[in-house]
């Protein structure tokens, strides 16, 4: 399938030292936990190391050349992000610690001042806890209410229920683009359109969308778009909040500190311009530079070919798991990313995880920070294999072989 396009799994794997390691003395490890975090290509490791080796200095501060070089690399990363997600202006790219901090920033700086008692924030039942808890906190602070739109038994957003919940009381909408727990891809453009008809702004949690598809925030129309570096082959501890300039302009800072001010006196402080108003303190310079390298790497990839490959891995894994009647797939949306979540009668996912680990297959087990979603399926935990563009059908076969061992041990 992948030969029909410009996409080559072998070429991709050559970019990742992780695969060189696991093809050396150790037996190979099938890493199928990509929705948790992704492996890093050599160019990302190089960018981080080069920054620390050649340009360790603070940004936006010194007049000396090393500070200028660190600032140049940090701001270049912002330009890369802007171009990659097609933001209108570089000042719309705020570096954060990750998706979670991005959501909290919007909750506190944009949404909180909008809310009064009885106002509503609308989300879906398939949100990650990072897109639940900040809204529950802001509701607690303001007397507002968090409304949660249900999902269908297949794990798709119930759009009729969604439309009914979108009312004159709705003051903000926050929605996950692609579910981390079950892979469902939501109709985010339609969700944005419906909200905008009512003059309601929308945050899109793009953490799981970024590694699988191109993103164009202007085409999407989202007012805010949040993602994490580490899920898109970049470093941990760095993420992005995209926000429309006219919204960011009017928002108060999220944190106070250095770099986010123009002038501080005993009685008066003037906020810095965008995006620095939202970047208090010394930022994660190396993280931003590594994220820039990751997105530059992504630009060289035939992502349409990668999507076909990931789809084939998903279908392969799904078919192999469906051979067993006592294995139940959780989340079978028509439009989904290569995430395969499942449960097995009589065997807890945690036991599956241990046995698969012994078979050198790394999957995630547990509630995946999506307890409300799992509740709707009547389960407390699942086993989840999540694929990235570098995974292979041999690794899918290793997953199936590991599941055969689970059955043998538990006498299924």
């Amino acid at each position: 399938m992948s030969q029909a396009t410009g996409f080559s799994v072998d070429a991709i794997r050559n970019d990742f030292p992780f695969f060189a390691r696991s093809s050396g003395t150790e037996p190979p490890l099938a890493y199928l936990d990509n929705a948790a975090t992704a492996q890093k290509p050599q160019c990302v490791l190089d960018a981080v190391l080069d920054l620390y080796r050649d340009a360790t200095s603070n940004v936006h501060r010194g007049v000396h050349r090393l500070s200028a070089e660190a600032t140049r690399r940090y701001e270049n990363a912002r330009d890369i992000v802007q171009r990659y997600i097609h933001a209108h202006d570089r000042c719309e790219i705020v570096f954060t610690r990750g998706t979670t901090e991005s959501v909290n920033l919007v909750a506190q700086s944009y949404v909180r001042p909008l809310l009064g008692a009885g106002d509503e924030i609308l989300i879906t039942q398939m949100e990650h806890h990072s897109n639940f808890v900040p809204w529950q906190m802001v509701a607690e602070q303001t007397g507002a209410v968090v409304r949660v739109a249900p999902v269908t038994p297949q794990g798709e957003l119930d759009l009729d229920a969604w439309r009914a919940l979108l009312t004159e009381r709705t003051k903000f909408v926050s929605v996950v683009h692609t579910s981390n727990a079950i892979g469902t891809i939501n109709p985010v453009a339609e969700i944005v359109r419906l909200a905008h008809e009512r003059g309601v702004a929308v945050l899109v949690d793009g953490a799981q969308a970024m590694p699988h598809q191109r993103v164009d925030v202007q085409a999407l129309g989202a007012d805010f778009f949040a993602f994490s570096g580490h899920k898109v082959f970049g470093p941990t501890g760095i993420g992005v909040l995209y926000g429309k300039q006219e919204l960011l302009d009017d928002m108060p800072p999220y944190q106070g500190g250095g770099d986010m001010i123009k002038l501080v006196s005993l009685t008066n402080t003037v906020w810095n311009d965008l995006p620095y108003k939202f970047e208090a303190g010394t930022p994660n310079i190396a993280g931003a530079v590594g994220l820039g390298a990751a997105l530059e790497w992504m630009k060289t990839i035939d992502l349409d070919g990668a999507a076909l490959h990931e789809r084939a891995l998903h279908d392969d894994a799904t078919a192999r798991l469906r051979q067993w009647d006592d294995v139940r797939l959780i989340g079978t949306a028509a439009h989904k990313a290569a995430v395969v979540a499942f449960v097995m009668d009589g065997v807890h996912p945690h036991d599956i995880g241990t046995i698969l680990d012994q078979a050198r297959v790394a999957i995630r087990t547990g509630h995946h920070c999506a307890q409300p979603l799992l509740e709707s399926f009547g389960v407390h935990a699942t086993a989840r294999a999540s694929f990235a563009l570098y995974n292979t059908h041999e690794e899918v076969a290793a997953l199936a072989a590991g599941m055969a061992q689970v059955r043998e041990l538990f006498g299924a």
């Binding site: 945690h350 241990t354 012994q358 087990t365 509630h367 935990a381």
Partner: protein, 147 residues
């Protein structure tokens, strides 16, 4: 596969599937909740005392084979023990699942958990019910966790 067979011994699989003392004790004198935030496992333990002695003990909840079997075998073992004896037994149990030691003779059937030591990520599964029981015996209201 051999380390896995040591971990998932028949006795553990049996108690994982058909836990003993898996019931509610109405009007229990001592109760506590246990929670393993790593995997979401939850357990609720019920105890009735006869002086310093555990007269009856049971549990409810859901978890993996290791945590369910541990709770099941634990309830069988500590019935009739004093609080002090139970604490001492837990000391031996914790040593068994974390260190390469011979099982202390007082552990009896609980020696079956010796395979856990090869799986450090699963020690919390084996000890959740113990932490919960000790919280119940102390009469603490708070939720016991493995953290």
């Amino acid at each position: 596969m051999s380390e896995l067979r040591d971990l998932y011994q028949q006795l553990i699989l049996d108690h994982g599937r058909k836990p003993r003392n898996f019931r509610v004790i109405e009007n229990a004198q001592r109760e506590a909740d246990g929670h393993n935030p790593l995997c979401g496992d939850r357990i609720h333990m019920f105890v009735t005392m006869d002086g310093e002695t555990i007269a009856d003990v049971s549990f409810q909840g859901q978890g993996c084979a290791i945590s369910t079997a541990s709770a099941s075998l634990l309830t069988q073992m500590v019935k009739g023990m004093t609080v002090a004896q139970t604490k001492e037994l837990f000391g031996h149990f914790r040593e068994l699942v974390t260190k390469p030691v011979e099982p202390h003779e007082s552990l009896e059937k609980l020696a079956v958990f010796s395979g856990v030591r090869e799986f450090p990520m699963r020690v919390k599964c084996a000890t959740l019910s113990w932490h919960t029981l000790l919280a119940a015996l102390k009469g603490e209201d708070k939720v016991a966790t493995t953290e």
